[in-house]
Symmetry: C2
Subunit: 552 residues, 2 copies
């Protein structure tokens, strides 16, 4: 319980309300917009009944909206209904259940303005290719990955944490020091190494014979996942929660759960966690390596998590390398791809975006690290290059690092951030705040203004260009932009005589250097615009440069 309470300190206005037979609210309970209002109820579990099968819902009404959400059993005599209001003002609710003590419970509360860093859940924006928060604020997915961080052992001998911090607190501290805005985390524990200690809690109850009771969940397991998720919200990070995965290796057998158990798990997680605004649902990591599950499991579980989430948080699924999923399926809000090929060089990532016409996140492109497997030994420079490579093409890319740490038993058992979190060991993470600021400064998301002809140059609003030079090391960049504007009528073509300033961004060293020259546009031919005097920007002969070019 220590871990949970530590997280709880950092969590947002939850307004727990306890009532034996009637919810007794304070005169006017308040919850912020996109916060979580919780109705807590108390009732005995009827003899012979599985409390995870009990029907419990509440209908929430305001002048703006009416929404019915499912409640859930929280262990002992506790039952809860959680709700994320999307409109300010007064709300009433009323519960409905087959259990008399849970039925017809009513109450009121007031939804107040969101706090400063609460922009609501992330959704697909009006372009269909990028993301924004519910309040319209742009959201940039700068993701990292730590599969098992929520289930990391509190044993200090298998951790990398500052004194007094658990491994999980250290992971949160690391994230807070970075510019990351998303983390991919496994809901179920990962058997990434059989020698790693057992998790404190398990998602299912055990039967007397030690096997899992696939019809009964362990609420305390989910308390902890929720606390971790709230802690992420507090530092502005989206929880890309991976519901299923193939990394069980027979240790617990969760990857072999019956389809119906997966449905129950989705329904329960949806009821508990949909009210957390920073949740995304990732059906699986490497779903196609979950050999125990037939293809219909993914259909069933996708349907189940969507049915269990009245807010329609972002949903995707993730495959093994280059095994692209049918992301055109309208149930998936965006592409969560594993493939390094599209971000290894120019001219590739845009192809994926052009095909799917949805937001594209390359959620695994190999990792910075020193593993002796080929997916885990990129340099920090290469990892950063891949992120910018994705961005210049109007797509996104997710990081992780896996530098081997520890030697717990003297026989080579080692771990890393990708597996369990902890302190950063790599170099790429430290460039993400700078990157985030660059993105926050963009008027609009980037897109290649002359796709398939110029993979270096994106527009990010009228008269605002980003030119990524990648690994090129040159002493100058001759002023040379595509004249056309793609198909965006809001972005006019460059006209003769327009003047531009250029800044040289060193993405690795995190410097921004203005170029003193003011360039003046003149058409070179039907396609390109150059400077009237054919002048160039002097470059520092470093790789990983980006040019920010603004019309004056």
């Amino acid at each position: 319980m220590l871990r949970i309470s530590l997280f709880f300190i950092a969590t947002l206005a939850m307004t727990p309300m306890f009532a034996k037979s009637k919810a007794k609210a304070p005169a006017v309970a308040e919850v912020e917009r996109w916060g979580c209002y919780e109705v807590a109820l108390v009732a005995d579990v009827p003899s012979g009944q599985n409390p995870f099968d009990v029907q419990l819902t509440a209908t929430f009404c305001s002048s703006a909206d009416t929404m019915t959400v499912a409640g859930f059993y929280d262990g002992g005599e506790a039952w809860k209904v959680r709700f994320m209001p999307s409109a300010e003002g007064d709300w009433t609710y009323s519960t409905s259940s087959e259990i008399v003590a849970l039925d017809g419970q009513c109450g009121t509360f007031r939804c107040i303005a969101p706090s400063a860093n609460n922009h609501g859940p992330v959704m697909v924006d009006s372009t269909g290719l990028h993301f924004c928060y519910a309040d319209g604020t742009r959201y940039w997915p700068i993701g990292t990955t730590s599969y098992d961080w929520m289930h990391a052992s509190s044993d200090p001998s298998v951790s990398v944490a500052d004194a007094g911090l658990t491994m999980q607190q250290q992971t949160l501290k690391s994230l807070a020091e970075s510019g990351f805005t998303k983390i991919r985390s496994l809901l179920l524990p990962q058997n990434f190494n059989p020698k790693y200690p057992e998790p404190d809690e398990y998602p299912f109850e055990r039967k007397a014979d030690g096997t899992w009771d696939w019809t009964r969940l362990n609420p305390r397991y989910f308390d902890h996942v929720e606390a971790c998720t709230r802690a992420l919200a507090d530092i502005g990070i989206e929880q890309d929660l991976i519901l299923f995965h193939p990394y069980d290796g027979g240790r617990w057998g969760f990857s072999a759960m019956p389809i119906e158990a997966g449905r129950l798990l989705c329904r329960y997680v949806g009821a508990r966690m949909s009210s957390q605004r920073n949740v995304w649902w990732s059906l699986a990591n490497e779903y196609d390596l979950v050999k125990e599950q037939p293809a219909e499991a993914w259909d069933a579980w996708t349907d189940a998590i969507i049915a269990a989430d009245p807010y329609r948080h972002l949903v995707s699924i993730h495959s093994y390398t280059a095994q692209y999923y049918s992301y055109w399926d309208e149930r998936y809000t965006h592409c969560s791809i594993q493939d390094q090929a599209p971000v290894e060089d120019f001219g590739r990532a845009a192809i994926v975006r052009n095909i799917y016409r949805k937001p594209v996140v390359f959620d695994e492109v190999l990792y910075e690290g020193d593993l002796d497997v080929r997916w885990g030994n990129l340099s920090g420079q290469e990892e950063l290059f891949r992120m910018y490579q994705a961005l210049i093409a109007g797509t996104y890319c997710t990081h992780s690092e896996c530098y081997l740490l520890g030697d717990v038993d003297g026989q080579g058992f080692r771990y890393n951030f990708l597996a369990v979190g902890g302190k950063w060991q790599g170099t790429m993470w430290a460039r993400t705040k700078f990157l985030k600021q660059l993105l926050d400064d963009l008027p609009q998301p980037m897109y290649l203004v002359d796709s398939s002809w110029d993979p270096h140059t994106s527009a990010a609003g009228p008269g605002y260009y980003m030119v990524y030079l990648g690994k090129e090391v040159a002493d100058q960049w001759r002023f040379d932009l595509p004249t056309r504007n793609g198909r965006n009528p809001a972005y006019p073509k460059i006209a003769e005589g327009e003047r531009f300033q250029v800044e040289i961004i060193d993405t690795w060293n995190m410097t921004i250097t203005p170029c003193p020259t003011i360039f003046e546009a003149v058409a070179q031919d039907n396609y390109r615009t150059i400077d009237r005097q054919n002048r160039a920007v002097r470059l520092p002969q470093q790789p990983y440069l980006m040019l920010r070019i603004k019309k004056i």
Copy 2:
């Protein structure tokens, strides 16, 4: 009529049958499998009735199959029903029509074995990623493009043809000299230059006021297209027939036809031409540039051509650059893409294939030529490079050339093969027979055996590898193959001690040179296999080399 009769000489067994009120067949008419059996009927058009609206079908029965196909009005008193039998043996047929003279006409014929070069229509093969003929023979799409060649003028002042040949005959002669196996041709005439002469025939009838009667077609226009298509079949070339296009420029207004006229056109073309085994349907070229048509036109016309084709020939649609269509729609059998980006360098084309999981044909990747527009000035080497780049990734690529020819009016009116066919002017075409032989020699189609890790190396069967070096100019290639076999269980991993021979293929100079060394496999690490003595193949320091590596 000259053109039609010239083509007709070259056409295959059509068995025309004429009858006033009863089809009088010879004792046993014969048609080869996948040939065209034609029932010709004669009847007056009932007064006041549009013959293009008349219902006429015939049901064909054999012990193997029963199929009902639509007939069509062929002008004057002529009506026809055409049928492509897919099984040898005796067939009977019986017609059905609202017109008494066309109703209940019966007959028999015998379907005999196909002739040597008749392998039936092309279809998607059992892998779902490549093509084969109906008889199981592998089909390699080595395509070229000549949009208006079927409608090219017979005026010798606007042609490039050997003495005594029309431009269309010259085009067929050019194709026969090449290794091309597919041509993209427009069904409707192209206004590629307003000064180019009018076509001899038009697809629709004109009304008294000179406008088109969208309810009445001109059978003679289609006779000619069919004759051209049969002439292609005779030289082993598939007709990728483009039903609609945006290149009308208001000259005739065909691109602005009502949706219903397009439906009629599809129905009519389907009835007339589905029995031609070498037909593919391409709904459009650059459909998204046909500004007169709403999105629903493409849905309607796709449905119409599929409904009009009982044999389910290949169907696709083609967009403007990088505007990828929803090829996941099950109505489309393959992807017909316009985008040069995927074949400009390694590591790209496979992404497209991995996403769509259908046969991928990059049907426009810019053209060899000397135009002053950027889509028409590739070198022959570059065009060939793109074709091999597609092939190594298990996809396909289509050629054309557009060297400017002629100066008809002394004011710059010029034309080229891409527009109207004629004689080859370029250099790439001459490499296609060599390419076709390489492909015909493959045991299986190519696929990248370690996709996203090694974009140079494809397997083409167990122990059979192709390594494309592209533009690399080197004096040696160290023997180094992926150990793994992708996910194909039929292709085992390379085992230690296996021995390989290597041939150096110069794709541009069309030479095949055996390397004298026999290489012996040994694992380098988990992923790659090298030679036990780390030996290399000596290379001629030329670009565009491919290595063919076979296990001994």
